[in-house]
C-alpha cells in the first residue's frame, strides 16, 4: 500500500494488466487440472460407454460395437483421447454427448439456465435469511433464543442435502400435495408451452432444499462475525458514548460484517454447485447437476468434461468476484494515498 503520492497512470495500467494476465493464467491452469482429474477418474470407471450406448439393443454385433468404439476413438490411448478433446475444445468444439446424442454445448446451454434459476433463487434467499438471522442471533448472543437458533442452525448445516430433499418431497409433494414431485415443468408438456408460473412451481422445492442447507451456515458465520465486532474496542467506546444496541448494529455492525458476508457468499458458489447436484437428482430436475451425474454413470466423457469445464469456470468467477469486491470495497485496500 502506497500512502504517499498517487500512483502514476502508466503504473496503474501496468499493474492492472499484470493482474488480468495472472488471473487468466490461473483460470486456464485450474480448468486444465479439473478436466484432467475428471478425465482420469472417468477413464478408470468400469462402465463401458458402448455397452451403455447400445443398452437394450441385443441385435448389435461385435463388429458394430467395434465400429462405434472406433468412431468415438475409444481405442486410442487415454493421453491421446484427452489431447484430442483439448484440441477440439480449442477449435470451439466441445464434442457430442454420447448419452443425449446432441452437441455438448447445446445440452449445457439448455440445462445451465435451469440450474442458474435454481442456484440463484437459493443463493439470494439463503444469503438474505442467513444474514438477517445471524444479525439477530449476534445481537442477543447468549440469550435463550440465540441458544435455540444456534442449535437449529448447527443441526441444519449437518443435514445432508439429499436427505432434506427427500423429507421435503415426502411432506410437501407427496403428503400435502402442494408442489410437484419433480422435473421443471408438467410431465408430457412441450418445453415451449410451460408457463412461468409452472416453472416457478417446479423450482420451489429444490430451491427451498438448497436454501435450507446453506442459510444455516451463513447465519452462523454472520453471528460469529457480529459477536467479534461487538467485542471490539470501538464498540465498547460507542457504548461509552451512549449508543444503543440498534444504533451500534446500524453504525458499526453492518459496516464491518457486510463485506466478509458478501465475500463468503460469492466464495460459496462451489458448495452451492455441489448441493445442486444432489438436489437436482432427488427432484429429477433437468439441470447441470443431474446431467453431470448421468454423464458420470454412463461414461459420457465429452459431456462430463464439458460440465466440469463450465462449473469450474462458474466457481472460479464466484471466487474472482469475491476477491475483487474485497479489494474494491474495503477502504484499507482501496485508498491509495491520503
Amino acid at each position: 500500500m502506497e500512502l504517499t503520492g498517487a500512483p502514476t497512470k502508466a503504473g496503474t495500467a501496468k499493474r492492472v494488466a499484470w493482474a488480468v494476465a495472472k488471473t487468466l493464467l490461473r483460470a486456464v491452469s485450474l480448468v486444465l487440472a479439473a478436466t484432467l482429474v475428471a478425465f482420469v477418474l472417468v477413464s478408470l470407471s468400469p462402465v463401458d460407454p458402448v455397452q451403455q450406448y447400445v443398452l437394450g439393443a441385443d441385435a448389435v454385433s461385435a463388429e458394430q460395437r467395434e465400429a462405434i468404439a472406433d468412431y468415438w476413438g475409444l481405442d486410442d490411448p487415454p493421453v491421446q483421447r484427452y489431447l484430442n478433446w483439448l484440441g477440439a475444445l480449442l477449435r470451439g468444439d466441445m464434442g457430442t454427448s454420447l448419452l443425449y446424442r446432441q452437441p455438448v454445448a447445446a445440452v449445457i446451454a439448455q440445462r445451465f439456465m435451469n440450474t442458474l434459476a435454481l442456484m440463484l433463487t437459493a443463493w439470494v434467499f439463503s444469503g438474505l435469511i442467513g444474514f438477517a438471522l445471524g444479525c439477530l442471533m449476534g445481537m442477543w448472543q447468549g440469550s435463550w433464543a440465540d441458544g435455540i437458533l444456534r442449535r437449529l442452525c448447527l443441526a441444519l448445516s449437518s443435514v445432508p442435502t439429499f436427505w432434506l430433499g427427500m423429507v421435503f418431497l415426502l411432506v410437501f409433494a407427496v403428503g400435502l400435495g402442494w408442489f410437484p414431485v419433480g422435473f421443471s415443468g408438467p410431465i408430457g408438456m412441450a418445453d415451449g408451452d410451460v408457463t412461468l408460473w409452472q416453472r416457478l412451481h417446479h423450482l420451489a422445492l429444490p430451491a427451498l432444499t438448497l436454501c435450507f442447507v446453506s442459510f444455516a451456515g451463513v447465519a452462523l458465520h454472520t453471528r460469529q462475525k457480529l459477536v467479534d465486532v461487538l467485542q471490539t474496542d470501538y464498540v465498547l467506546f460507542a457504548r461509552a458514548r451512549g449508543a444503543g444496541r440498534w444504533h451500534i448494529l446500524k453504525r458499526h455492525g453492518l459496516r464491518n460484517i457486510a463485506l466478509p458476508a458478501v465475500t463468503l457468499q460469492f466464495a460459496a458458489f462451489a458448495e452451492l454447485f455441489g448441493g445442486s447436484i444432489l438436489a437436482e437428482n432427488v427432484f429429477s430436475y433437468p439441470g447441470l447437476g443431474s446431467a453431470v451425474a448421468a454423464a458420470g454413470l454412463n461414461s459420457d466423457v465429452p459431456l462430463l468434461l464439458g460440465i466440469t469445464l463450465v462449473s469450474t469456470l462458474f466457481v472460479f468467477t464466484g471466487n474472482l468476484v469475491a476477491n475483487i469486491l474485497t479489494r474494491v470495497v474495503d477502504p484499507r485496500t482501496r485508498v491509495n494515498g491520503a
Binding site: D233, A240, G242, R251, R255, N256, L259, R332, V335, A338
Partner: protein, 312 residues
C-alpha cells in the same frame, strides 16, 4: 484545584467481583477491586496510579456501567451527589460522562474520522463544532476525510482526544491514555487533558505512570491489589517520601529512575488470593504481627488518606 467545588464523582467503598466456576460445581468469586474510594471535583485531574493487574481498568468500566458480563459490583457511586444507578449511567454515558479513547483501535476501521468524532449527530452545527475542535487541536481540515489507518501517531492521539473535547461531558475518564508514547507525546496528550480541566471539567486519569501523574494531576490515588492505599496531593509526591504516608507510595517514589531506581522485592498478590491482613504486608518493611490480623481501614492523615496502621 478548588477543594470547595462540589464533587462531580464520588466513589465510596467500590468492589468488583467476578463469578467463576472451579471444577464442575464449586463456585468461587474473584475479587478484582475491593474497598476503593476516591472523589473527582470539577476543574481537577485525579490520577489513579497502580501497577498492571491492580484492577484499574475495571474502575473506569464500573463508573460507566460497562463492566463485562459476569462481573458484579457494590459500594456507592455518586455523580453530582446523586447515586449512579444503571439507568442513570445509561442516561449520562456520552452526555455527562465520557471515556477518553485509549488507542486507534477504539475507532471503527471502516469509517471516516470526521463522522466518528461527531458521533451519531448529523446536524450541521455538530460538523462545525468538530471542525472547530480539530482546528483547536491543530488538525488539518482534511483530516476528517481520512480513515483511522491513514492517521499518523500524532494525528491519531489528537483525533482520539477530540472525541472528548467535542462532547459536553463534565466528567472525563482517561484510562491509560499514554501507553507506547514518547515522553513528549504523552506530555502533549496530558496537556490537552489539563486544558479541559481548566475549562471546568473533572478528569479521572487512570495510569501506571507515576511521573506523568505527578506532573499533571492535582491529587493522586495510589492503587494496590484492587484497593486504595493512599490519597495524596501531587505536591506530596513531588516533595519526596517524607511527605508520603503509605510504605507502597514511598516504594513507588524510590522506584522512579531519578530517585534511585530501587525495586521492591516480591510482587502484587493475585486478585482473588484471599489475604486476611493488609495486602501489602508481605512486602512491607514496617510489617508487624498486627498487620496480618485485618486489612486496615482508610484513615485521614496529614491532609490525605492512608490505609496503614503504622503511617505517621
Amino acid at each position: 484545584m478548588d477543594i470547595n467545588a462540589a464533587p462531580l464523582l464520588e466513589v465510596d467503598g467500590l468492589w468488583v467481583r467476578f463469578g467463576r466456576t472451579r471444577g464442575r460445581f464449586a463456585q468461587g468469586q474473584l475479587e478484582a477491586i475491593r474497598d476503593l474510594s476516591l472523589t473527582v471535583r470539577a476543574g481537577e485531574i485525579v490520577a489513579v496510579v497502580g501497577a498492571s493487574g491492580a484492577g484499574k481498568s475495571l474502575l473506569a468500566q464500573a463508573v460507566m456501567g460497562l463492566l463485562p458480563t459476569g462481573a458484579t459490583m457494590g459500594g456507592a457511586l455518586r455523580y453530582k451527589g446523586q447515586p449512579l444507578t444503571p439507568k442513570r449511567q445509561r442516561q449520562l454515558r456520552g452526555r455527562e460522562m465520557a471515556l477518553v479513547p485509549q488507542a486507534i483501535t477504539w475507532l471503527d476501521p471502516l469509517m471516516r474520522v470526521g463522522p466518528q468524532v461527531r458521533g451519531g449527530d448529523n446536524r450541521p452545527q455538530q460538523a462545525e463544532r468538530q471542525r472547530a475542535v480539530f482546528a483547536r487541536l491543530g488538525l488539518a481540515p482534511q483530516t476528517e476525510r481520512l480513515y483511522p489507518f491513514q492517521l499518523s501517531g500524532g494525528m491519531a492521539r489528537r483525533v482520539l482526544l477530540s472525541t472528548a473535547v467535542i462532547g459536553t461531558a463534565q466528567l472525563l475518564i482517561a484510562d491509560e491514555p499514554t501507553p507506547g508514547m514518547a515522553p513528549g507525546q504523552a506530555a502533549e496528550a496530558l496537556g490537552i487533558l489539563r486544558q479541559l480541566a481548566h475549562d471546568g471539567r473533572g478528569v479521572l486519569l487512570i495510569t501506571h505512570d507515576l511521573e506523568l501523574a505527578v506532573r499533571f494531576a492535582g491529587s493522586i490515588v495510589v492503587f494496590y491489589a484492587g484497593t486504595t492505599v493512599e490519597e495524596a496531593l501531587a505536591a506530596d509526591f513531588a516533595a519526596g517520601p517524607a511527605a508520603l504516608r503509605h510504605p507502597y507510595s514511598q516504594a513507588l517514589w524510590r522506584a522512579l529512575p531519578q530517585n534511585g531506581f530501587e525495586a521492591t522485592a516480591g510482587s502484587q498478590p493475585h486478585a482473588g488470593t484471599p489475604l486476611p491482613g493488609c495486602l501489602y504486608a508481605p512486602r512491607c518493611p514496617l510489617m508487624t504481627a498486627a498487620c496480618t490480623q485485618q486489612n486496615p481501614p482508610l484513615r485521614a492523615l496529614r491532609g490525605g488518606m492512608v490505609r496503614c496502621i503504622h503511617a505517621t
